[in-house]
Symmetry: C2
Subunit: 431 residues, 2 copies
């Protein structure tokens, strides 16, 4: 029980970094009461010394030289909020090797090298915490590691990307196109000028890799996550979904069963009565199903300066408490289960299909026959004349549980068939 002051080296001084500095100052007294230690920001590593910043800090605090921060023996904890793989990875490794604890918000890095870095931290006797990397303001990593330590999580469904959730909410509510909704999201600062990693689902895939690793105690890498974005979703899809009682969400699903683990991110129709269906705008939520506890859900802001900064600071408080008790490097959530990924033949889901078909006798029979051969049965069928062409019909099918392999096989047959004009869409269905 030694220290009276803990010194922080901050790497990165963008949105989250600014939030961290603001909160450390605003909550100085509360933090002291919780930890018995004053928290002091000793140095901030920046790239561009000429850049104008929303927050002015004491002269001499800023540096562009990483070694003045990483080699400073006074610095106990490094907070990395610069993002990206390199040089962040090298900085974190060096910090750990020098015996400095690390708090990071870096999902790119943790989704790719989480296991490696956690093991390095454990070897160095250092803490490495990363609550802010998933669902900003929701303390979901702590909840999974501590709250669910006594249960077996079998399923997690996450709305973990605020940008796409905003776009889909707007498309559902106002029946505007994807392009229009994206433009509005950019105007409001919810989407970046290059929105690719959000829209394509990659950002969500990184977060799901982190959640799956923790929840299933194994090293799931972002490359293990099958991923599909929201770019192709049309207002027509959403209208049909609404009529059938579904809400479109970009969800990440991580499941484990006797065959292994599956992790995916894809546009999914969520039943209106499912708690995730009401998670709108830029909000995030993670639904966790535990074998013993059943259904739970954790909801909150997924990004933003202060929400993300609180996540960073809650990790900081944990590290400081560990320092005071002399138990750093002991709480790493290291993997202990073998990674067995499922193939398409054991990934089961319900599916929504929208087809344009020749409006003639026997078409539905043929489709049903192909489905039956793959042991797919139908939960809902809905047909109406196709507005584009009177001789054609629009057919909506919702299946019961089917394997991904079976549904892909049927989709191939449909696409090759003469009497199917077009496979407009195929989405997973949840709830």
């Amino acid at each position: 029980m030694g220290k009276k002051e803990v010194n922080i080296g901050l790497i990165g001084f963008g949105t989250v970094g600014t939030g961290v500095v603001r909160l450390v100052h605003a909550y100085q007294e509360d933090l002291y009461k919780q930890t018995g230690v004053s928290i002091h920001i000793e140095r901030i590593l920046i790239k561009d010394p000429l850049k104008e910043r929303p927050l002015s800090v004491q002269h001499g605090l800023l540096t562009t030289d990483p070694s003045t921060l990483l080699n400073d023996p006074n610095i106990d904890i490094v907070i990395e909020v610069m993002g990206g793989i390199e040089p962040a990875k090298t900085y974190i490794q060096k910090a750990l090797e020098k015996g400095k604890h690390v708090v990071t918000a870096n999902k790119d890095l943790m989704a790719l090298y989480g296991d490696e870095l956690l093991q390095l931290a454990a070897r160095c006797g250092c803490d490495l915490y990363y609550e802010a990397s998933v669902a900003g303001g929701i303390p979901i990593l702590k909840t999974i590691t501590d709250g669910f330590s006594s249960d077996r999580i079998t399923k997690m469904i996450g709305i973990v990307n605020g940008t796409t959730n905003y776009i889909l909410t707007k498309m559902m509510r106002e029946a505007v196109s994807f392009e229009e909704a994206l433009k509005e999201a950019q105007r409001l600062g919810y989407a970046e000028q290059d929105p690719t990693s959000d829209v394509d689902g990659l950002d969500a895939a990184r977060k799901m890799a982190i959640l799956a690793s923790l929840g299933f105690h194994t090293g799931i890498n972002v490359d293990d996550v099958s991923c599909k974005g929201i770019g192709g979703i049309t207002v027509e899809d959403l209208n049909f979904a609404k009529q059938l009682g579904y809400t479109m969400k970009l969800v990440g699903i991580a499941k484990r069963d006797e065959w292994g683990i599956e992790v995916s991110v894809e546009p999914t129709l969520v039943k209106d009565t499912h708690p995730l269906a009401a998670v709108n705008d830029v909000f995030n939520a993670v639904y966790v199903y535990g074998e013993a506890v059943g259904e739970t859900m954790f909801y909150g802001p997924g990004a933003g300066e202060l929400p993300t900064a609180t996540a960073v600071l809650s990790d900081l408080v944990s590290v400081v408490k560990n320092i005071q008790l002399g138990v750093t490097g002991k709480h790493m959530p290291l993997s202990y289960s073998e990674k067995v990924l499922k193939g398409k033949e054991t990934i089961y889901a319900k599916f929504f299909l929208r087809l344009i078909v020749q409006d003639e006798c026997g078409v539905l029979a043929k489709i049903a026959e192909w489905m039956a051969e793959e042991e797919i049965s139908l939960e809902k069928v809905f047909q109406k004349p196709y507005i584009g062409d009177q001789s054609q019909a629009e057919l909506i099918l919702v299946t019961h549980f089917a394997s991904k392999k079976s549904i892909e096989h049927v989709l191939d047959l449909l696409k090759q068939s003469d009497f199917i004009k077009e496979v407009k869409s195929c989405y997973r269905v949840e709830g």
Copy 2:
């Protein structure tokens, strides 16, 4: 890093106790991987040795003599799931004094004597955890102490009693009376034969006292919670609420601002767009507003054998980890803020009023005048002929923010007035 085995003494072998024994057996291997220790149930204290139990345990495990458990030096951790104040309190005190760590699910006890017992635990160098005492399957206490350690919680709203939430959900959905809904809840085992403590809000008040103490770092006692039950709610109230876009919930509210702290439990009209409005049936949820993080919500099962048992076991895992690291008795969430409770003049809320009035000129003007004198302005006014009597009208008012003192004063004036036939109801409004 010493022990290979941790021995448990279980006090109480009802629903939750049975769940604990089941899970300790079912998850033996997972628990070992998490903690490096085998967890062994050494002794179970019961009241009635002749009672038939759903789970049969090894001969010699059961005892009716508390001293054989409390004085057994082999027992490291006591799990108390018998409930009630005495003898539970004495057992817990004795266990702590003997250096045994305690995990309890006892909300009655923690709501009344939480501060005292936590201080005793800290003095004895022992852990005292009580996650299962609030909202069974939701790890809300860990979330507040760890996840929000870096933020200033200003408001918590909890649906923390499953019985009343089931009754209100049924009344809203099916327009059945309170009595009918209660009977159905009893038939399904959601309500006890004597449902008083649920229906009157006392159970929820206990949980709000625990939440407020943790969230505001001060000792809030159940006696500090103002409490009103759901017994008087009518189907008519619910119909009007629905028309105006509200859902009736029994909510606990804990707020703090520059004037102090308020904690209450009362039937409240929650706006349909608020995340709590969608929390139905026996589910629980706690909405937490942090100054920096903003809106968050935590949702899950509030009771039941296995959900509650997982909460107990997650505490057990925490204690075992602390034992292994030699840091027991260091994580007690002790109070450090002064308790300042607000008076009615600084408790502000919106209110919904339903009145039966003489249908004559000047009535609304008079009511509006009384309101104006108390600086209460109206957000919504809705009038319709009263079915019971043609010369009377039914008047629904929703106010803007008003102090509890002001609204009570206006209610007094209304009750004394000749042209107000009846004040049918007055509810708090949230969101």
